[in-house]
Amino acid sequence: MPVTNDQVAALRALLAGEVDLHARLFERLDQTAAETGYTALIAAAFFEAVDRRFAKEGTAADVIDFVGDLRSRSDRLADVIDPKVAERLIWHALGEGSIADLDTETKASHQFLLLGGLVADAHFDAAGLDEFLATARELGDRLIGDGAGTDP
C-alpha cells in the first residue's frame, strides 16, 4: 500500500511545528498501514532532507556540527539522540558506510528526530514544505514498492 494522504498530512503537521494537530492526525492513522507507509515516508523525507543539506558540499565537519547543534537544543534531544548513530545514519543516506547493525527502532527514531532538525533548519515556507513532502512521498512509494522499508 502506497503512502496515504493522511500520512502526509500527519507528517506535514509535525514538520510545520503543529504538534497537537500531528498528535490528532497520527492517532487517526490506520496503524497497520502506518507501520509501512508512515515509516517509509519518514525514511524518505529523511533521505531527501539529508541530500538537500549535505550532498553537494557537506563535509564530515558539517555533519558533526549539525548533530551537535541539534542535540544541544534541548536536554531531551541530547539524551535521546546518540550522536554516533545520528552521524552514521546521515553518512549512510549519503551513500557511505553501513547501518546493518542498527535495529529498526533505533534507525526510525533517529531518522524522525534528525528529520525534525533538518526541516527546522531549512526554514521552508508552506509551498516549500509541500514540495519537499511531495518529493519525499514519491521516494517513500518507491521504497515501499522496492520492499526496502526504512533502509533504501
Binding site: 563535509t59 564530515a60 551537535g68 544541544s72 550522536p83
Partner: protein
C-alpha cells in the same frame, strides 16, 4: 604509588603534539607497567576542563564543544565517541553523568580532549610545566588514598 617522571614526560610530549616522542614514552610506560598514567591524564583533564568551563556551564555548551572539536578533525574524529567525550567533560565538572564506558573509549576521549583544551590555553613552556605539576600533585593525591 606516585606518578612517575615518565608519565609526566609522555603527557607533556603529547600535549606539545610531539607524537613520536609521546609514543616512544608511552611504550616505555606501558612496558614498565607503571601505574599512575591514567590518574595523571584524568587529573590534567579535570583541571583543564574546569578552567575552560567552570563555574557556570551547561550540557548544551559541553555538547557544542565536543562537536566543534570533533568537527575540526573531520573524518579523523570517527574514533572519538562524542557521548564518551561529553561524559568525560561533565564528570570532570562534577556532574553525575552516567558512565558505563569501555576503558579504551574513555582513554581515547580523554587524550583527545586534552589535545584540544591545552592548546587553547596557549601555555608557554613554563606554564605547561606548572600545569603538569598541578595535575601530577592531584593525581598523586588520588593515588595515595
Amino acid at each position: 604509588v606516585t606518578v612517575a617522571d615518565e608519565h609526566a614526560a609522555a603527557l607533556r610530549a603529547h600535549l606539545l603534539h610531539d607524537f613520536d616522542e609521546a609514543e616512544r614514552l608511552n611504550r616505555r610506560v606501558a612496558e614498565a607497567d607503571m601505574p599512575g598514567y591514567g590518574e595523571l591524564i584524568w587529573a590534567a583533564l579535570v583541571l583543564a576542563t574546569r578552567h575552560r568551563f567552570a563555574p557556570k556551564w551547561t550540557v548544551s555548551q559541553v555538547i557544542k564543544y565536543v562537536a566543534a572539536a570533533r568537527a575540526r578533525w573531520g573524518k579523523d574524529a570517527e574514533d572519538i565517541d562524542p557521548r564518551a567525550a561529553e561524559i568525560m567533560l561533565r564528570r570532570a565538572l562534577d556532574d553525575d553523568a552516567p558512565a558505563d564506558l569501555d576503558e579504551t573509549v574513555k582513554g581515547r576521549a580523554q587524550i583527545f580532549l586534552l589535545g584540544e583544551l591545552i592548546p587553547e590555553e596557549q601555555f608557554d613552556n613554563a606554564e605547561l610545566d606548572e600545569f603538569l605539576a598541578k595535575a601530577r600533585m592531584l593525581a598523586d593525591n588520588w593515588l595515595s588514598i
